[in-house]
């Protein structure tokens, strides 16, 4: 390559810099930038020193492992814990099969979850927890191996995912003597269930409301608009209170709607209104020529929406939609106000225990870290989805 004197090609100028050169050019190029850099470093040093000293020497982390069970499942009875494990094993089967059948993102997510399982296995948890993690990880791996190249299983796996919701609910609740009332559901388990149901249910509802608000039929347009504006004009807490206090008054006779279900309904209805507006933003970005071209080919309205408009519209608003999911995940913490003990709720009950008084920083930091892990995971997956779909490219 060195002696290509005849080549006519002109290479672009080399703009790559070594780290030292970069430091010189960006942080120490003038005397005042040098001072600012030093001040900034000093500030960062003191902040991190404070945090690290507290985390590693002063904080009393005993409270976390001692209450791990409460944090993860709340007051869910320990002798019924096999119900939770069964649900996890079932999901592991579905996830493993999906990863085997679909390439790409599903597989990456599955590998990531498998790694988490393996990490739990190695951490100093109670032996039963590590056993469950081991079994779940093995199930995941085995289903992955089974599902490889089973293209004709796709339909059944999708059916499986759809059924996994009622199945999870029934499995956790149980029948007859071993029933675990939903009032016993708590901790991260409850948070995840509320968030998953909310996310899965609010998405189609939001899409329908968005289409309804742009409908040419006045009745549908008005119903959708009134719904969206009413719900968006009310705080989520109000909806939760209405669900837990007002709804039972209107219900006929002894009919008791489950507390957890009422919270799910409130969360779903609330998020759907915001989802609708996000989706509507995407719908408006689609040029009318797209609909005209679809109509000219003879596609009916539902098919035009399904194959032409929605795929483009949803792709354009993935960041807003995932933002809404993340909001919803964090908003589940409000259910502790209507008497449910989600992750934040159990944190407060742990702190109410005389044994752990004064450990707010440790407990809340731990809870915050859990919320962060899940929310960041959603954000990360959405970025991967965007790049997989080639958003902005075609």
């Amino acid at each position: 390559m060195e002696n290509t004197a005849i080549t006519q090609e002109v290479k672009p100028p080399n703009t790559k810099k070594g780290p030292v050169k970069w430091l010189k050019d960006n942080l120490f190029n003038t005397w005042y930038n040098t001072i600012l850099t030093c001040l900034g470093l000093a500030f960062l040093f003191f902040v991190f020193k404070g945090v690290f000293t507290w985390v590693f020497t002063q904080a009393d982390w005993e409270v976390i492992p001692a209450n791990l069970q409460i944090f993860s499942i709340g007051p869910y009875p320990l002798e019924q814990i096999w119900r939770v494990s069964t649900v996890i094993y079932g999901l592991a089967v579905l996830l493993g099969l999906s990863a085997g059948i679909w390439n790409g993102l599903t597989r990456q997510i599955t590998v990531a979850i498998g790694c988490i399982g393996a990490i739990i296995l190695l951490l100093p948890f109670h032996i039963p927890v590590r056993e469950h993690a081991l079994i779940a990880t093995v199930i995941l791996a085995v289903s992955f191996a089974i599902g490889r190249n089973k293209d004709n299983w796709k339909r059944w796996v999708v059916v499986g995912w759809v059924l996994s919701f009622p199945w999870t609910m029934m499995m956790l609740h149980g029948f007859g003597a071993g029933t675990v009332s939903t009032t016993m559901w708590g901790g991260l388990l409850l948070t995840l269930i509320l968030a998953a149901v909310g996310i899965v249910a609010c998405f189609p509802l939001g899409v329908l409301l968005a289409l309804g608000r742009r409908s040419q039929l006045p009745a549908i347009r008005w119903v959708s608009t009134v719904y969206i504006e009413t719900i968006r004009g009310v705080p989520l807490i109000t909806l939760l209170f209405m669900g837990s206090i007002l709804l039972p008054i209107f219900m006929p006779g002894d009919f008791q709607l489950d507390k957890v279900i009422r919270a799910m309904v409130a969360l779903t209805l609330f998020s759907a209104a915001y989802m609708a507006e996000n989706v509507r933003g995407g719908l408006q970005a689609i040029p009318s020529g797209q609909v005209e071209a679809a109509q000219a080919v003879g596609l009916t309205y539902p098919k035009t929406m399904l194959f032409i408009v929605l795929p483009q519209a949803l792709r354009a608003v993935i960041p807003a939609i995932v933002g809404q999911f993340i909001s919803l995940f964090k908003d589940t913490s409000l259910v502790s106000i209507v008497g449910l003990v989600d992750l934040l709720g159990v944190a407060r009950s742990v702190l109410g225990n005389a044994e752990w008084i004064g450990l707010q920083p440790e407990v809340y930091l731990f809870v915050a870290a859990i919320y962060f892990v899940f929310c960041y995971a959603m954000s990360f997956v959405s970025q991967k989805i965007e790049s997989d779909l080639g958003v902005g490219k075609h």
Partner: protein, 253 residues
Amino acid sequence: MTENESTTNDPIIICEDVHKWFDDFHVLKGITTTFKKGERAVICGPSGSGKSTFIRTINRLEEHQRGTIIVDGIELSNDLRNINLIRQEVGMVFQQFNLFPHLTNIKNISLGPIQVRKMSKRAAEEAALALLERMDIADQAYKYPAEISGGQQQRVAIARALAMEPKIMLFDEPTSALDPEMISEVLDVMRELAHSGMTMLVVTHEMGFAREVADRVMFFDEGVVIEEAAPADFFDNPQHERTKLFISQTLQH
């Protein structure tokens, strides 16, 4: 060029006193005309004259408010079933191509046959490949529209319309959005299509194409057809002052 060889006397589109308003603006002021099977009509006129609106009423992308339009024996009314039937018979090519950017070219073409004509995926994709071959762009089948040139995109759009095996093709200024060097590749395809006996209504400013291919040239101005004639008569012996002015202006460049 030999003309009229494929034209029969059976009318395929009958328009009677077609009126259209955009709010208070009277775009089409009573168009009455008949297109025969296999006829190639070029529609020209200044912008805002209603020529695009007129061909868009024929597959109901625009609704006419008075008069009747009968396409292949089916009258266009508010009956959705009729509209969908007619749209299956009438292909359309747009100025801005309007390809579906999230689908590969071959999927753009096979979507209609699969979803509307209920063709199997395999048969539809084979047909799509054959059409792309005919358009001379088979090698672009698995690319996305944004990855190919404007002239190629418009040819994919023509293939998409043809995939539905329409009896009539509408072209709404198909070359107006193209770079000059790509116009001829699209016109070549349209010429080939014209010789295959397709009924074509073409809104265009390409007067050379009109002279060569058309059976009839219609001149629109302010919502009425003020002159229509065979291309030889139309270009060499225009009757109306307005037409004369238009021809002298368009032929200047």
